[in-house]
Subunit: 417 residues, 2 copies
């Protein structure tokens, strides 16, 4: 998009994201049924309800003696209650006896409460006085140290909502309820297309003027990290027909298409033309007020998001976090059922003055240091084109759109790698 | 370990960790050589040095014109420098010409600087005046908009240190340097043994008194999350010979052994006896001042860490984070080359008064809420034995050893799931 003077119009990151979200129609990934052993980290595609009550029987939460609580009322150290222990509850077995008044049964944590008992006295509050007789030195209330049948989960309770990302403890709870397989969404497929006449694969000898493909390897790992499956399509020359052909094929077998490279104006124009040519609505923005990452192109073709990412490796990492990861979350079917903490963002003090142009969001590579108990972000200055900056950095400090810069000691948000 | 009165002696979490670290001898996991496409998230087992200079040639960082900087000295809007554009640098090709004084070559970002040029004028600072002639309205200094050959990486530079965990951008940089495979440590293998006469597998019908195995499923996912490989050994009865046999077999094929269950005193004693029986130094601690998680057992047999974890599912999650994950980091060969941010820990305001016994570290299940821009941690009270607490919680609020409790509004650390 160019203004009347032929200059490229850039829009803010917020506006660019809004455009994508506005044009992306609701869409559902295919589902699959998986054993719970394989479902960790995937997204639940159908509400999961409990098939049964949990626990199925009332049980003890401590080691001690199952009793009728009324037998212990008023018991103290000075005036203990005396109770006959004439039974024992075996683990994993239903007790085939009924407690009478004044009687107790030895029971372990998780043991099933026998008929006639309504509480459990902890071992620590008893004293063995004779074979088969204990002193209880502290009373228990009815229900004390017991989980009632069905108290934890009722048959039909909603356990995990559609859109929930399965955590380790969720897998445990599914096992506990006897649910051994679940319906989850398949991971979205993301095609990665490297473009540039100068780009060669990493296993190839480079001639003068050529460079090896960095971006598709960085992107593939970022896509795995975001819970999706990367498909590296290869390296292609910056020609309309060539790029059009591979993007068209990629649209058929992926849920998102990333075109990396083409940092020159001509190459960017090829990418934009291809996106516009292949379907509606086509290019939604071309150029954002983001540094690095200004030449980013965002579009949608037949409801599949297509991004043209800058060729510069540091810009690729920033654009992935700013645009690609949030859109992947939506495509994955992940719903924010809970309050979300962005674990990747921390606050730190910036270690140097940094100036920034107003009207753009700037991401500066930083490494972190602890100084007297505080976290400081040390900017990695120098040429941003150096790829070693990528290795030295722990993350990027973000200078927001409306700031002219930050002063040493100011608090900044650092987006961790 | 019991004191003179036969009571179990409990030690602090810190002391327990120290005991493990003190007795764990340095040990190296087997290595394997992997394609870089498969190495994301693994630990580098040998220092990686650059096989070549990067870039191999001086190149432009902008779209514009390669020039001799001296031809532009003093140029202004009012008094531009006029330069003849008689060449063009093609992407991916070595320019087979040499620039003479007063001449320029069209060049794109990443293009190789031709002989005779020492800087690049940005397209934006020029104006086409005639076919083949441009006005330059701003001077460039020698080296401006150019990365020199070898400026980024020198042959022999250390790229990734032994012990470094490979991040997405590291994979990209390896590809950029033509390194297509790397030596990494294999993931540690962790055996999970479920014990308890009442435990049945999740696919089995439960009889009254029985419960399904939750812990080994929760643990397996936690182990994957920590970068290790879980091996579920199955469910075993709480008998010395049975447990001894499976632990002995597990010690032969794993780097760590977790024994889950046995929350009763008798079962815990079996676990402790087995650990002591199988090798030195055996049990290092039996009981920690941690809630939930007090009955945790920690030991080392033939330099393999063995933990006896409580049967209670919530305690298993807490013990994993407190003991198992830190020890797994060490076993994995991961070295803290960089300042470490614990992404899992955030600060929040506690939403209710919580009392706690002094002298123990307490972990309380909480869910998070935003209230007027602040993060609040709402305790999930009620019986801690309920497994639904595990599903409702976003993490646990930690009340440290020396605190008697926290008051509503106080800042606590929350360890996110």
């Amino acid at each position: 998009m160019r203004d009347m003077l032929g200059r490229e119009e850039v829009i803010s990151v917020e506006k660019a994201k809004e455009l994508i979200l506005k044009h992306l129609l609701p869409k559902t990934l295919p589902e699959k049924n998986l054993k719970i052993e394989e479902c960790y980290g995937l997204i639940v595609s159908r509400d999961i309800f409990s098939p049964e009550d949990l626990p199925e029987f009332s049980k003890s939460t401590v080691d001690g003696f199952a009793v009728s609580a009324s037998d212990t009322f008023g018991a103290t150290e000075g005036m203990p209650a005396y109770i006959n222990v004439i039974h024992e509850v075996l683990m994993g077995q239903e007790p085939h006896f009924e407690l009478s008044k004044g009687h107790a049964a030895k029971i372990l944590t998780g043991g099933m409460l026998p008929k006639g008992a309504d509480a459990v006295v902890m071992l620590e509050h008893t004293q063995q006085v004779d074979k088969g007789i204990i002193e209880v030195v502290k009373p228990v209330a009815p229900g004390e140290n017991v989980i009632q049948a069905g108290e934890d989960v009722k048959r039909g309770d909603l356990i995990l909502k559609k859109g929930h990302k399965i955590r380790p403890q969720d897998v445990g709870v599914l096992a506990g309820l006897g649910i051994i397989d679940v319906w989850v969404y398949e991971r979205p497929k993301v095609s990665i297309i490297s473009t540039g006449d100068e780009i060669v694969p990493p296993d190839r000898h480079v001639k003068l003027g050529q460079v090896r493909d960095i971006n598709s390897y960085n992107l593939a790992s970022l896509i795995i990290d975001a819970g999706a499956n990367p498909v590296r399509k290869g390296i292609f020359n910056d020609e309309f027909e060539v790029i059009r052909d591979v993007v068209e094929r990629s649209l058929k077998d992926s849920d998102m298409v990333l075109i990396s490279g083409g940092s020159s104006v001509g190459a960017r124009d090829v990418t934009a033309s291809v996106i516009d040519d292949l379907g509606k609505p086509g290019v939604l923005f071309h150029g954002v007020s983001l540094k690095p990452g200004k030449p980013t192109i965002g579009g949608i073709v037949n409801n599949i998001p297509v991004f043209g990412l800058p060729g510069h490796p540091a810009a690729v990492s920033v654009c992935f976090e700013v645009f690609v990861r949030p859109v992947l979350r939506i495509l994955s079917g992940f719903c924010e059922n809970r309050f979300r903490i962005e674990k990747r963002i921390i606050k730190a003090k910036i270690a140097k003055n940094i100036s920034s142009s107003p009207g753009r969001e700037e991401h500066i590579g930083v490494y972190l240091e602890e100084r007297e108990g505080e976290i400081w972000a040390v900017p990695l200055l120098g040429k941003s084109s150096l790829i070693t900056t990528l290795i030295k950095a722990d993350g990027t400090a973000v200078i927001p759109l409306r700031k002219l810069g930050v002063e040493k000691g100011e608090i900044v948000e650092v987006r961790l790698f």
